[in-house]
């Protein structure tokens, strides 16, 4: 495949499957906590934490920390910017898949 097939339009930040998975999961809920995302993505604490931090730095997700049963819990939500980026990335993916089929 060449970049003209649409690969160049893919968001580099979302080309990591855990980051893409996290954004897709967050797009279907108001918020998810770290444990839930780790359980669904079947990732290790360290890896998921690092990937989520990158998404947070890019302002694709927003983080809210609170205490539940005296334990700190981080809640993650998709930001408007993240939703836009996810939509654009999915459109680009669709174009790549279509061009690969032809």
């Amino acid at each position: 495949m060449t970049p003209s097939n649409g690969l160049d339009k893919l968001d580099p930040l979302l080309q990591h499957r855990s980051r893409l998975g996290a954004l897709v999961l967050l797009s279907g809920a108001d918020a998810m906590n770290f444990t839930r995302l780790r359980e669904l993505l079947a990732e290790s604490d360290g890896n998921l934490g690092a990937q989520l931090r990158k998404l947070e730095e890019a302002q694709y997700i927003e983080v809210c920390k609170e205490f539940l049963d005296r334990k700190p819990v981080s809640w993650y939500a998709l930001s408007a910017r993240g939703r836009q980026a996810l939509k654009a990335h999915l459109r680009a993916l669709e174009a790549v898949i279509k061009s690969a089929k032809v």
Binding site: L7, L25, A29, D30, E39, L40, E43, L68, W75
Partner: protein
Amino acid sequence: MTESHQLQDDLRFVRNAVSRRDSSSRTPPAIYYVVAAYVLIGYAMIDVMPRYCGLFFLVGGILVGVVSAQIGGRAAKRAGEQDAIKSRSEALHWLGGIVLALLSTAALAAIMPPLRGTMGSQVLVVMIGIVYFLGGVHFERHFLWLGPVLIAGGVLVGFVPHYGWTLLGLIIALGLVVPTFFPPRISLDPNADSSEVR
């Protein structure tokens, strides 16, 4: 691995994560226990204290709704997920469906006098059975068979000479409680094909 294979692999990973989410989003068992107790007591009252069962269903129904919403909210927080859209659609289905069934039965009874007694209750149970069945289509699979059981029970209860409603209440309560002891198995392998996730 080529780029297209890498993309396929990544998309399978994401699809499996979404499948795991869908299959692990279950109604907290405590809600079923509360509804089962409400149904069991209410249906038994039709047989033994028919004068008060209407009041019980009205007041109890409101209480069950409030308690279920509280249990659901707490369980969602514990499970690590907040989804207002899903909560609203579930509330609309159950509350809206049962209120509509109630209003429809009342409207039918207003123009069909034979429905003003026990027969009206039978029609209401049949309609609630349809709401249960649709609950199975949209939310929890075991309502797919519990709905038809309720519909059949609503039709047949008239043929049972004694304690027919109590028996029907017991069957429904068991239908609500028993599936909570057999939760679906969830695969946690990120690379497993989503068809393995029930």
